[in-house]
């Protein structure tokens, strides 16, 4: 199962380089924003985290669909790792967003802000992914149900955003709107490099997680072959694919 290890070294280096470059651009190249001052720098972390985690959820849904279509275990693993990683990124996005909201608008939480609210709903939905997996013992059924959930959730993400956006008036600065945003060039450069860096970080961490999980499975299989079935303790109930 060493296929997950392919390109991992190059990917890791690329991630480190891009992340360093992105942070350097953020702090030394992008100008200090006039109204909000230094705090606005959190935007270069918060927005990429949010965007990438949402894309991760949708990707998890696509992988889930692939699992349902092909029945190959690797798609289940991909779906699980994508959603797992997205959850971690989402927590980062929510916390950094709350800090930014406090600094920029004076409140930790702003209900009139559709992006924030719909993001919270999506996170609340995907928080149930692991409890769902954990409460299904049969691994096959766990994978199938988790895939169905991932497909439903992945389709829910854009729809939820549309509905919530309809329901409240705008407040959030639209960064990636159809007019191309109103960022000055220097800020845009730093921002797009950070988006690329966070995306690379997501892919790299996801691949590491997949590698770790598949290595663990492989080790268990080999131990069982060498030591016999009885010598290897059965896996305890797990939310992750085993």
């Amino acid at each position: 199962m060493s296929t997950h290890a392919k390109h991992l070294r190059g990917l890791t280096i690329a991630t480190l380089v891009t992340l360093t470059a992105g942070l350097a651009l953020t702090f030394f190249y992008a100008p200090i924003e006039l109204n909000e001052g230094f705090v606005q720098k959190i935007f270069y972390v918060h927005v990429p985290l949010a965007i990438i985690s949402l894309m991760g959820y949708v990707a998890g849904g696509v992988f889930g669909l692939m699992y349902l279509r092909t029945g190959k275990k690797v798609w289940d693993l991909r779906s699980y790792c994508a959603i797992h990683m997205s959850l971690i990124f989402s927590i980062g996005g929510l916390i950094s967003g709350a800090i930014w909201a406090k600094a920029a608008w004076g409140h930790w939480w702003v209900w009139s802000e559709p992006t924030l609210v719909s993001y919270l709903i999506v996170v609340l939905l995907f928080c149930t992914y692991q409890p769902l997996r954990f409460s299904i013992e049969d691994p096959e059924r766990q994978s199938t149900y988790a895939a169905v959930f991932a497909v439903v959730g992945g389709a829910f993400v854009p729809l939820n955003f549309i509905v919530v956006r309809l329901s409240v008036q705008y407040l959030h600065p639209r960064v990636l709107n159809l007019e191309g945003g109103q960022l000055p060039a220097s800020m845009a450069t730093a921002f797009y490099v950070m988006v690329a860096a966070i995306a690379l970080l997501f892919v790299t961490l996801m691949k590491y997680e997949m590698l770790a999980k598949s290595t663990r499975m492989e080790t268990r299989r080999l131990r069982r072959r060498v030591l016999g079935d009885d010598a290897v303790a059965p896996v305890s109930r797990s939310a992750a694919p085993v």
């Binding site: 149900y145 497909v151 439903v152």
Partner: protein
């Protein structure tokens, strides 16, 4: 085939009176709880709409939890899987059953709401409210059936169902609550000195929210139809 399952469900419900009366009692109790929580004798506009929407959502979740229990406990799933029929029949039957439960529930719950919350302008808005109720029931039924089918085969199904269901129902809840809120909106007319002379119940156009709700129904119907088969495999 869907008709057979639906008839079975309705017969069982009529004989045992297990789900719908419980949903009705729960909804009325929720109105009472809201009364004490909000400390208002009369609810207006958006507040009234929110109380109605949340109470109905809770009742829908209650019904959702029970939807597949008989199939699970008495081997109905196995029998259904052995039969050479389209799996979507189960989705159609169960969603219709839940929809009908909600409609029957609302025949009790809306008058109770009118008595307990006494929102001004309810009578004039009734036509719009009925439309909204039908569309939101459809969303509750479709999402509920899908979630229930996922949750029923898990160990902690009473917990998994609601926690998955609530976020998925939020778009329907938003559209329903805002739509009903607009239907029930109250505009005070102030006389000299700012004294409120009269109220008008201007039922502002809430057609866009009907449309949102209808689109959400279509979306969920397609989604449920696409993935439901996978939930019935052994």
């Amino acid at each position: 085939m869907a008709w057979a399952i639906l008839r079975k469900d309705l017969t069982v419900e009529l004989r045992t009176l297990e789900t719908v009366p419980a949903m009705a009692i729960f909804t009325v109790a929720t109105f009472v709880v809201f009364h004490f929580g909000l400390q208002r004798d009369q609810l207006q506009g958006q507040l009234a709409a929110g109380v109605l929407a949340v109470s109905l959502l809770f009742a829908a979740i209650l019904g959702t939890n029970r939807l597949f229990v008989a199939e699970r406990e008495q081997g109905g799933f196995d029998g259904f899987l052995l039969a050479p029929v389209d799996r979507s029949a189960m989705l159609l039957a169960k969603a219709t059953a839940l929809f009908l439960y909600m409609v029957v529930l609302e025949i009790v719950a809306v008058p109770a709401f009118a008595i307990f919350a006494a929102p001004p302008g309810l009578g004039g808005a009734l036509g719009g409210i009925v439309l909204f109720l039908l569309l939101v029931d459809l969303a509750f039924a479709l999402v509920g059936t899908l979630v229930s089918a996922i949750a029923v085969n898990t160990r902690a199904r009473d917990l998994i169902g609601p926690i998955i269901g609530l976020p998925l129902q939020i778009p329907a809840l938003i559209a329903f609550a805002i739509g009903i809120g607009k239907e029930l909106a109250v505009f005070p007319h102030r006389g000299p000195g700012g004294v409120i002379r009269a109220f008008t119940y201007h039922h502002s156009p809430s057609g866009e929210w009907l449309l949102v709700l209808a689109l959400y129904d279509v979306f969920n119907a397609l989604l449920a139809y696409a993935v439901f088969d996978f939930l019935l495999e052994e």
